[in-house]
């Protein structure tokens, strides 16, 4: 026996040694790192029963945003605001309008400059003037052309006044005249042919009626008219007419007139007529019971409702129960039970069953205390045919 024990022990030592070596730690599972996905459970009443209030207004029983001023009502508007179109974007503060207009106006005044030139009448006159104008400095030549040029392009009625005023300004403006030709030789040369007539009707009506004084400024264009003449001698020969015609479509001076100057606006169109109020303490998360709250209450009562099997004419019976509850979920008075459908006997049986079930399940649990206003009086509808197991 001793020998066999030794044999057995040796055998075990061998097996264990083999197990230690070959049955080492098993291969680890390759586990890919997965990011946990956070899930928030949002009760639907947080979205459906949001109340909009005014932060700065005093507290009141019912929250209300600041009243809007516009009376016209936009249908189906969801976002509060004074807009005529319901937009989700918040309303923008109005931009300062004056600066833009003032900057836009002078440009408009400058634009007429090319206008005189394109008219066919100008050209012959300009040709006559060329010999004297070109040798002399531009400034010296300025006064004479202005008087002649300005009247011709503008046969319109309001201009006669401008003519009288026109002569004095040129002295002040020669500097401008000098600058302009240098800066925009090509641009001014180009309008001669194509764009000017197009631009006239749009641009001129705006600046002329309100600002007669500015028309005096408009007169200087006559000076620029000369400079193109010079270039007309030089440039026209180069036969750049086709190229200049293309460029003429774009007039940097007219961009402002093409721009939509109406400020973009945001804001909704839902009107508010109530006085602004921050809202009371109770209104967080809505004040009415959600469907799940109601189901939870129904479930408590159904759990205690022992349906008596074998009652005929159960189908079609609807039982309506009105409960008055105190804050602990206990009933005040008796439940008011009314029912419809089915036979009288079946109805009476089920009414009794509902009454017992309600009394058994008092006090009702799980009622949100902050919504007591809603569930202090509760109406529950039961359909006995749905209670079957």
């Amino acid at each position: 026996m001793r020998g066999s024990i030794a044999t057995s022990a040796a055998l075990h030592v061998l097996v264990l040694a083999w197990a230690m070596i070959s049955l080492g730690s098993p291969a680890h599972f390759e586990v890919a790192d997965t990011e946990a996905m956070p899930v928030d459970i949002v009760p639907v009443e947080e979205l459906t029963q949001i109340q909009q209030g005014d932060k700065k207004a005093p507290k009141a029983e019912k929250a209300a945003p600041a009243p809007t001023k516009r009376p016209d009502v936009v249908e189906n508007a969801e976002n509060l605001g004074e807009n005529s179109v319901d937009l989700k974007t918040p309303p923008r503060p109005e931009a300062k309008p004056l600066e833009k207009e003032s900057s836009a106006a002078p440009k408009a005044a400058e634009t007429p400059v090319p206008t005189p030139e394109p008219t066919p009448q100008d050209k012959p006159e300009l040709v006559d003037e060329k010999p004297p104008a070109t040798p002399a400095t531009e400034v010296a030549a300025l006064p004479t052309p202005k008087a002649e040029v300005t009247p011709q392009p503008r046969p319109e009625p309001p201009k006669p006044e401008t003519k009288t005023e026109a002569p004095p300004p040129p002295k002040e403006e020669p500097e401008q005249a000098e600058e302009k030709p240098i800066e925009k030789p090509d641009a001014e040369a180009l309008p001669d042919k194509v764009p000017a007539p197009m631009a006239k009707p749009k641009v001129e009506p705006k600046p002329e009626p309100p600002k007669p004084v500015e028309q005096a400024k408009a007169t200087p264009p006559a000076q620029t008219a000369k400079t193109p003449d010079r270039k007309a001698d030089e440039g026209k020969k180069d036969a750049k007419k086709s190229a200049s015609a293309k460029q003429s479509d774009f007039n940097a001076d007219e961009i402002s007139s093409l721009l939509n100057k109406q400020d973009s606006s945001g804001g909704g169109a839902k009107r508010s007529t109530q006085t602004a109020a921050l809202g009371g303490k109770k209104t967080t998360g809505g004040s009415t019971l959600s469907q799940s709250d109601k189901d939870a209450i129904k479930q408590q009562i159904q759990g205690n409702w022992s349906i008596i099997p074998g009652i005929a004419d159960t189908a079609g019976i609807l039982i309506k129960v009105t409960l008055h509850l105190d804050r602990d979920g206990n009933i005040i008075g008796q439940p008011e039970i009314s029912s419809s459908g089915g036979s009288d006997a079946a109805r009476r049986t089920h009414e009794g069953g509902v009454r017992r079930a309600i009394m058994k399940s008092l006090p009702l649990k799980g009622l949100p205390p902050d919504k007591y206003d809603d569930w202090s009086e509760m109406v529950l509808n039961f359909d006995p045919s749905e209670m079957g197991f």
Partner: protein, 238 residues
């Protein structure tokens, strides 16, 4: 306990699992390993013994039925320490010699004495064959339970440690449970061979015993005939 805290870094080789285990689980494991050693010792011992007994029985039967004189056979066998069938034969012959040669009167009494002597020897030999098979049965039936006990204790301690560490991460739980399950594994490793060996050796022992009983009955018949013949000759002589 602390092994759970180390769970993330420890490896799970058999040795480390054993070393991580608590005292009770370790004792259970060691006990089960001892039981396994004992089981295999019995298996080895019984295999050798049964093989030898079978061979001796074959040899004896060959000699017995060879027509050799029973007196001579008794003389050669009684010198050695006989086992199995030889032991039964020797005991019967010894009783025969003691009773008949001293002049027994009743043939029935002589027959009964010889049968009793053979029964006693047979029982002794059968007991020798079945010795220690009981411990195989015990290991086979109790081994899994002992292993399960170790597992339960190990899992208990590991859950207590989890309660302490306040983490239910499977990586924290797994090593403790693996270590606890090792106890059940060892229990099964010990119990399964024990059950198989027990069944086999019980059957073998039954066969050997039946063979010896058969021989005893045959030899008893032979002796009975001898007694009758001797009695008749003795009466005739008187």
């Amino acid at each position: 306990m602390e092994q759970v805290g180390l769970a993330a870094t420890t490896d799970v080789t058999l040795w480390s699992l054993f070393m991580q285990a608590g005292l009770v689980v370790k004792l259970v494991m060691l006990g089960l390993i001892g039981a396994s050693v004992w089981t295999w010792a019995i298996v080895v011992d019984k295999s050798v013994r049964f093989a030898r007994a079978r061979k001796q029985a074959d040899n004896f039967e060959q000699v017995f039925w060879s027509g050799q004189s029973l007196e001579e056979l008794y003389r050669t066998l009684s010198d050695r320490n006989p086992t199995g069938m030889a032991a039964i034969f020797v005991s019967a012959m010894r009783e025969w010699k003691k009773s008949f040669e001293r002049g027994a009167r009743s043939p029935i009494g002589l027959q009964m004495r010889i049968d009793k002597a053979m029964d006693v020897t047979l029982a002794r030999e059968a007991e020798g064959l079945e010795a220690r098979l009981g411990s195989l049965a015990t290991i086979g039936s109790a081994g899994p339970f002992i292993g399960l006990f170790g597992t339960v204790v190990g899992i208990m301690t590991s859950f207590q440690a989890i309660a302490g560490s306040k983490s239910t991460n499977l990586a924290v739980v797994a090593p403790g449970i693996a270590e606890a399950l090792l106890a059940t594994a060892i229990g099964l490793v010990a119990a399964i061979p024990a059950v198989i060996a027990y069944n086999k050796f019980t059957a073998d022992a039954g066969k050997m015993t039946a063979r010896m009983e058969g021989f005893a009955d045959e030899f008893s018949a032979i002796l009975s005939r001898q007694i009758d013949e001797k009695m008749q000759t003795r009466q005739a002589a008187q």
